[in-house]
Structure formats: structure tokens, C-alpha cells
Amino acid sequence: MGEQRITLNVNGRDYDISIEPDMVLADVLREKLDLTGTKVSCREGECGACTILMDGKACLSCLTLAVQAQGKKIVTIEGLAEKGQLHPIQKAFINHGAIQCGYCTPGMIMSAKALLDENPNPTPDEVKTALSGNLCRCTGYVKIVDAVMAAADDMKRGENK
């Protein structure tokens, strides 16, 4: 199959790469850009482990062709920290024990980020609904929901400073 050259903007940086046209974004991120923080667990849109942000919206990178991501702003888990400072959601996941095996964590954090960017004041039920496409087999979700609620508080306080 013929390779195709595309430009992807990932975590604020442009990458010129050549790919097979049928490659999904998850594989391009992991294999071509070595951004292995994005996980693949089911390849069919059922688990959320591959969630990234595309133009600010949560997006399943296992179902998205890389060519469709051209011209969009892609953010992965590796791009969340700013100037070496972890994002409040990352900090909250660490401090609340919301991470066990960690395989769901990148996708969870990206879904949580999409939620909080849109709704800075969610109720726990809204958090659960927003994360319902992200499976976690380890935690029972309790500490994940706690972490997202705490991050929401933290982000509000940060803004009011």
C-alpha cells in the first residue's frame, strides 16, 4: 500500500510523517511518534483507554483515522503537564489513590479534562456519566470520581487566585 505524508499537530508541535492511509490515530501516536501514553485495549470504541483530545473534545483514537486528524489540535496525556507542572487532574489522581494498574489512567484523565473544560462544576453523577465510556477494572471508580471532583475544586480555586 502506498504511504501518505501528513502533518499532525500533537501537544502543540507539528509532526510531518508518512503513514499508511488506513492507520488509526492511536497507532500513529504510539508507533510513529513514540507517544505510548495513549493505550489500546479493545480497538473498537468500548473501553476508552485510547481517549485523547481533538480540538478540545474527547475522542477515541482507536476509531479515528490519522488522516482525519490533520489540521486539528491533538492533545495526549504526555501533553497535559505545562512547564513541568502536572495538570490538577493528574495531581488529584495521584493524591486520591485513583491509580492502580494505571492502564485506564491516561484515557480517564483525558475524558475528565474534556468534561471539566466544558463543565467546571460537575456533580458526582455528571462525572460518572462523562467517564462511563472509560472502563477501569481495578479501582471500582470511587477514587477516580473523588479525584475528578477534587480537581474541579482545585481548578476553580486556581482561577480565583
Partner: protein, 769 residues
């Protein structure tokens, strides 16, 4: 005492939390190597067949294919794998399996051939080009059918080719027949529990290569590093020529306890002399790796009018699937836990396991115990209903207390908190308010179940663990431990213990884990044993170094060793903390004196002999962890759908060394086995219908209930600081509590899981007829 802990008991973030939050943690699928090939397994289309011939010539001729292997290329194809234990247990316990099928295919998806090729697509293409000539066999898919004379025989191998029986085991205590003759009430029921997939988010995978010293090296996600020994045997190599450098797992739950990709990878890497990667697809993982044992459990219980149980008779039939794997071990758990966590004078248990042509059964969090717990806890409520007693009353009347013996006659040494935790869980749920009849048109019900499950392995396996420590000259510490970390914080807690004892911050202890050439062997991350075994090993080890440090510090402070403590990176006098010397200075002084600043220590569990399986007696495990779940459900009487609204769970954890980790295990286990009630593999004549997460539905954030976690810390465990293990006991009594709550809501008790809306609706309609 507890007031003096600096780190133990605190909710400390684990050492690996930062890397995981940043996406930096590497898992089995995150490595690539120069010249790496991709491995694939060709899997059987049928659950039962005779392989007449295999033609690999077309696959081998495909450009880009570097190896095609079948059973005849495996130096030792029939393998008895040990699971990390140092002792040959014998007696049919070790897990028998074949690396690649030959002769007979024993389950659908069994690997028949292996391919290594330059791309994944090429490897798949090569698999399609392999021609297998099958003679399809009728097979047998029901364990009871499999045990009947004249049944289809699953195996063609010596020792297994006369009957499908894997093992039988029996317990006889007192005189059950006499007790039944004298009973006021007798309750008799049959329960059925289904297979369960571990559904870890990370499927099985890894990379293997031959290093420049000719050592076959692998990086895989495994719960058992010690499988390198079995792999060496399969390859016909000495054990020191196989190295397992494992990586943290994206979940294990028992599913990475048996060998998964390891032998395939090593065979392919050895054949091609190139690095090879293999990662199973979700579909492959759902279909081929081992599942929780499906079981049929028949209970007959005798009791007095006032609810004292006088006899329990249980028959268990276990479906082992196509290979034995860990069935023998799992059977011990089902058998001994069959009577439940109760003090019953007369007990008879007869259990049988059978080979069938289903996907093999093996370890799954709960390991035979949660099957028995499900049945015995439904049986308790059946008895309570018959006697007009409450679920709490009947349990308090019969539960084990300190000094009581279990059905094998063994008296547990650890504290038994069943009475306290059963009350706390139930009262905790009641404290959330009186039970409403209906909420949003759905009928509300509340249920209770309690349980016990061991931590630490079967004592006849003679379990041990080792941890190594080295104090660096700047006062930091390197901890080396072959502890597979599956996400429970197995490695981090060891650092916490060492930091606590040396009086240094946790960040100063760096763990190097999971490398069989370099780390002391800790044994398996299974059987809820790491905190108990390796935690104690860490304690044994650090205490040796601590003694050296305190002795030197005492010299430097002009005091007696017993007057000195280590705290805040100092050695100081207990009675005069201002008189101190920095930790790092003591280390320097020891180094100048030529005193060893390293140590490797070992902890041994209690050892016993293999029990007589016809009359099991005595100690089977080191100790137990006790659980209670009180649950509120809402049932839609029109559709048969139900939701779990609230759970109050209470455990005696002994000592919560890392509060967050401990709670996280209890919450995670609760939701894991909430799934036991509804998850559906959809097995039909050896075929798995649930082949994706769209069909195998595990609980999501929306399904998970509101959970209140109550931890009792009795200090009465055998782990470090009196801790008990919680990883597997965490999922023990939730499923029966849910089913009992459904009964409370709508008056029907489904005795067979999964509880599907169709089954529940049918039962509700029948009852209302």
C-alpha cells in the same frame, strides 16, 4: 504503638503514581526493539478435534516470514508448570498443559502453530496459509456429563486418557447423617456459578529476545516471574539461561498467573534470533486465556429451630476446561470454604473437577473461594427465610469466633472479626436511612453476605519470599525485589515499610523490581500473598540493617542501642531527640568501618504436609481475611433489570499500611465481583459468544454503586504490623449480598448466575402467578 508510625497507615501516593499519571509508565506493549518481528498464534477452529496433519509449507514460503513452529518444534511440549513454589508438591497438583496442540485439540482457540514475521499483517497472513486437517470430535461441555462412564475423553495423553476426572477431595467432620436425622429444619438447594473473564485493560503481551550472552530474555506482563524455570524446561535450557525482566501489568486478577505469551515468545525469539513481540487482541484474550471455574454446588443444611446450624453437606462439581492448569489448587479453596465462615459441628464436602472441551479454567481473583462463598451465603439466607430470622441474626448465631475451628479442625491464629464487621456493615447501611419501598418506580431491597478468604498460599506449598536492600552513601536506599506489580501497590508498600523502619522519607527508597537475574525472588503476585510474604521479608531484611545502624549511632551518641531511634533522617535518643546524628553520617561511619550496608533476607510461611485428599485435616492456609457486604438494590419489576445503589463494606484489614491502597483494593474488589452477578461469557458447546467488550459487559462508572468502606484494624494479622491481605478477599461476599438483596426486593432468589434481566423477570412473573 500506632501513634508512633510516620508512614505506615498513611494514604501515601505510590512510587509509580507519577509515571502512570503522566503516561510515562511502560507496559508490555510499549517496547519496540531494532529488527523486531511480530508473533502470532494459529488457533484451533474447533473445541474438540483430532489433528490429522498440519502443512506449514505455504506459510513458510511467504516472504517476510521468519519462523513457523508446531508442536514437533517444541523441545518439551507437554509441560507441568509450577507456580513459583520451591517445592514439588506432586499429587496431581501441578498444572499440566501443552505449549502447542498435538494429537487432540482440547478447546477452541488452543494454539496449534506459531509464526514470526516482519509485520503483524504478514504474521496473520501466514497463519491463514497454514493448513490443518481436523477430524472434528463430539467433545464434552458439561462437567457432570464429562464424569459419566462412556463420556468423550478430552485428553489423549497418558495418565489422563481413561477418565476426565482431574481430582476429587473430601472433608468429613463429625456425623452429618445423625445431625440430619435429628434436625428441626433442613434446607436443600443447588447453585450454579459461571465462568468469568479477568477483563484487565491490558491484554497479554510482551517482547522476547536472545541477548549477547545467549540468555533468552523477556519483558512480559506476568504475575509469576518464576515461570522462567518452566520456560527453560520447555526450551531444553538451563534455568540460568532464561531471564524474565517483567514490566508492571495493566491488571492481572489471576489471568496472568498461568503462562500466557512467554513460551511462545521465547520459542520464536530462539528460532529467529531476533526480538519478537506478541500482543493478544481483546478477542483472543476473551476466548483463549483461562477463566474462573464454573461450578455446580449442591447444599444440604441442617439446623435447630432457633437457627443453630448442625450440619452442612456439600457436593461440588468443577469445570476445569481443556487443561488442568491450576484446577487442583482452586479446588482446595472451593472445598475447604464450602461450609462458609461458620462454626458447624458436622460437615461433609465432596468435590470433583473434570476436564471438558471448554476454555480452561484457572486462577481468577477469588480463586475457588468466591464460588463457595456465593453458594453458602445464599444458603444462609434460605435458611433464615425458612426460620423467619433476619440475615444478620442467622449469621451472628453461627459465624466463626476466636478459638473456633474451621471444617478441617484448624483453629485460625489471626483475629476473627466476623461478628463485629457483619454488624458494622449492616448497621452502616441502615444508618443511611430507612429502606424505602420504591424509588423511581423500582422496588428496593437490602441484602447481607459475609465471608472469609485466606491470604498467603496453601501451606503445603512451603512458600517463601526474599527482599534485598542496599543503603547508598548519600543515605538513599535501593530495594530489590522480584515482586510482580499488577497495580495493587505491591512494590510501593515494601518501600513504605523500609522507609518507616529506617526513619527516612519514602522517596528515598528506590525500588528495582521484577528481574530474575538481578532481583531476589519474591514468589508470585497471587493468593493475596505479597504484603504478607514480601512485606515480612522486607521487614526481616531492613531490621538487620537497622540494627547495624543503631549500634553505630549509639556509639556515636555515646548511648546504648536501645536508647536510640531512627526518625526524620536522623538517629536520635528516644528520650532526648535533640541529641542526634544525621542518618547519612551513620551510614558513612559504617562504610568507613567496612560494615556491610546491604542485606538480603528471607521470610518463610508456615509449612505443612500435603493433606490427605480423602479426609482433609489441619492447616491449609496461614490465615484468613474476613469480609461483610451490605447492599441496597433497586429492581425494575417490569423489565427484570436491577441496579446496585449502595454498598457498605466492612473488613478487618489487620493494619492498613497504605490507607489508599487498602481502600482501593476493597472498592475495586467490590465492583469487580459486582460484575460476577451479571457478566456473561455466553459459552455454548465450547464456543465463547462474548468476544468483545461490547458483549462482555463489565461494570462502568455509572453501574458502580455508592460505596462506603469501613476498615477495622484489629492488628490481628500475620503480615507486617499485624496486617492481613485484602486483594482477593476484597471480592468475596459482594455477589451473594446483591442476590440476597434482590430477594429482599422482589421475593425471588436466583440460584444461578449470571442474573440476566430475562431470568429475573421470568422468576418474578412465576412468583406472581
Amino acid at each position: 504503638m500506632s501513634a508512633m508510625f510516620k508512614l505506615v497507615g498513611k494514604p501515601a501516593p505510590r512510587h509509580d503514581a507519577w509515571a502512570k499519571a503522566k503516561g510515562d509508565q511502560l507496559y508490555s506493549d510499549d517496547f519496540t526493539m531494532p529488527g523486531m518481528l511480530y508473533g502470532k498464534a494459529l488457533r484451533s477452529k474447533y473445541p474438540a478435534a483430532i489433528i490429522k496433519s498440519i502443512d506449514t509449507s505455504k506459510a513458510k514460503a511467504l516472504p517476510g516470514v521468519h519462523a513457523v513452529l508446531t508442536a514437533k518444534d517444541v523441545p518439551m511440549n507437554v509441560e507441568i508448570s509450577k507456580f513459583g513454589q520451591m517445592k514439588d508438591v506432586g499429587g496431581g497438583f501441578e498444572g499440566l498443559y501443552k505449549v502447542l496442540a498435538d494429537g487432540k485439540v482440547r478447546f477452541k482457540g488452543e494454539a496449534i502453530a506459531l509464526v514470526a514475521a516482519e509485520t503483524e499483517e504478514l504474521a496473520e497472513e501466514a497463519c491463514r496459509l497454514i493448513e490443518v486437517d481436523y477430524e472434528v470430535q463430539p467433545g464434552v461441555f458439561d462437567p457432570e456429563e464429562a464424569l459419566k462412564p462412556g463420556a468423550y475423553i478430552v485428553s489423549s495423553d497418558e495418565g489422563e486418557n481413561e477418565s476426565n476426572l482431574i481430582m476429587e477431595s473430601h472433608i468429613n467432620k463429625g456425623d452429618v447423617e445423625k445431625a440430619f436425622a435429628e434436625a428441626d429444619v433442613i434446607v436443600e438447594n443447588e447453585y450454579r456459578v459461571p465462568p468469568v473473564d479477568h477483563a484487565y485493560l491490558e491484554t497479554e503481551g510482551g517482547v522476547a529476545w536472545v541477548d549477547d550472552n545467549g540468555v533468552i530474555t523477556m519483558r512480559v506482563g506476568t504475575q509469576v516471574l518464576e515461570h522462567y524455570r518452566t520456560i527453560a524446561k520447555v526450551m531444553g535450557l538451563p534455568q540460568n539461561k532464561v531471564r524474565n525482566m517483567s514490566v508492571p501489568m495493566g491488571g492481572g486478577f489471576g489471568g496472568k498467573e498461568d503462562i500466557t505469551v512467554e513460551t511462545f515468545l521465547c520459542l520464536l525469539a530462539n528460532a529467529t534470533k531476533r526480538p519478537v513481540k506478541m500482543v493478544w487482541s481483546r478477542e483472543e484474550s476473551l476466548e483463549v486465556h483461562s477463566k474462573r471455574h464454573p461450578e455446580i454446588l449442591r447444599y444440604k443444611t441442617a439446623a435447630t429451630k432457633d437457627g443453630k446450624i448442625t450440619a452442612q453437606k456439600v457436593e461440588i462439581i468443577m469445570d476445569g476446561g481443556g487443561y488442568k492448569l491450576l484446577t487442583g489448587w482452586v479446588q482446595m479453596y472451593s472445598t475447604v470454604n464450602a461450609p462458609g465462615c461458620y462454626n458447624i459441628p458436622n460437615v461433609k464436602v465432596d468435590s470433583y473437577s473434570a476436564l471438558t472441551n471448554n476454555t480452561p479454567s484457572s486462577a481468577n481473583r477469588g480463586f475457588g473461594c468466591c464460588q463457595a462463598n456465593f453458594a453458602s451465603e445464599l444458603q444462609m439466607d434460605e435458611l433464615a427465610a425458612k426460620l423467619g430470622m433476619s440475615p444478620l441474626e442467622i449469621r451472628l448465631k453461627n459465624c466463626l469466633r476466636n478459638g473456633d475451628e474451621i471444617c478441617t479442625g484448624f483453629i485460625p491464629q489471626g483475629h476473627i472479626a466476623l461478628e463485629e464487621i457483619a454488624k458494622k456493615a449492616w448497621e452502616g447501611l441502615e444508618a443511611t436511612g430507612p429502606k424505602p419501598d420504591y424509588v423511581d418506580g423500582k422496588k428496593i431491597g437490602r441484602g447481607l453476605a459475609i465471608g472469609m478468604m485466606s491470604y498467603g498460599r496453601l501451606t503445603f506449598m512451603h512458600d517463601s519470599s526474599r527482599v534485598g536492600l542496599r543503603i547508598e552513601l548519600d543515605g538513599s536506599v535501593t530495594l530489590r525485589a522480584g515482586v510482580p506489580d499488577l497495580g495493587g501497590g505491591q512494590a510501593s508498600v515494601l518501600c513504605q515499610i523500609v522507609a518507616e523502619e529506617l526513619g527516612i522519607p519514602m522517596e528515598k527508597v528506590h525500588p528495582y523490581i521484577m528481574d530474575t537475574h538481578l532481583t531476589p525472588l519474591c514468589g508470585t503476585t497471587t493468593a493475596t500473598r505479597q504484603l504478607y510474604m514480601s512485606g515480612n521479608a522486607a521487614l526481616v531484611t531492613v531490621k538487620v540493617l537497622k540494627e547495624r545502624i543503631i549500634k553505630k549511632a549509639a556509639e556515636m551518641l555515646d548511648a546504648k542501642p536501645e536508647e536510640v531511634q531512627l526518625i526524620n533522617e536522623k538517629a536520635c535518643l528516644i528520650n532526648n531527640p535533640l541529641k542526634s546524628v544525621p542518618f547519612v553520617q551513620v551510614v558513612g561511619a559504617l562504610s568507613n568501618d567496612g560494615v556491610e550496608l546491604f542485606h538480603e533476607g528471607q521470610f518463610n510461611a508456615p509449612f505443612t504436609d500435603v493433606p490427605n485428599l480423602h479426609d482433609m485435616k489441619g492447616r491449609i492456609w496461614p490465615d484468613f481475611t474476613y469480609s461483610a457486604h451490605a447492599v441496597e438494590v433497586a429492581v425494575d419489576e417490569e423489565t427484570g433489570k436491577f441496579e446496585v445503589r449502595k454498598v457498605v463494606l466492612c473488613y478487618d484489614v489487620g493494619k492498613a499500611i497504605n490507607k489508599n491502597s487498602c481502600e482501593g483494593q476493597l472498592e475495586g474488589g467490590c465492583v469487580y465481583n459486582q460484575g460476577y452477578v451479571t457478566e456473561n461469557m455466553g459459552w455454548e458447546n465450547g464456543i465463547t459468544k462474548a468476544r468483545s467488550f461490547a458483549e462482555y459487559l463489565i461494570p462502568t462508572a455509572v453501574d458502580a454503586p455508592e460505596i462506603e468502606t469501613i476498615m477495622v484494624e484489629s492488628g490481628g494479622g500475620l503480615g507486617p504490623y499485624g496486617a492481613k491481605g485484602v486483594g482477593e478477599p476484597a471480592d468475596n461476599s459482594i455477589a451473594p449480598a446483591i442476590v440476597n438483596a434482590i430477594y429482599d426486593a422482589v421475593g425471588v432468589r436466583l440460584k444461578e448466575m449470571p442474573v440476566t434481566p430475562e431470568k429475573l423477570l421470568k422468576a418474578i412473573q412465576e412468583k406472581n402467578k
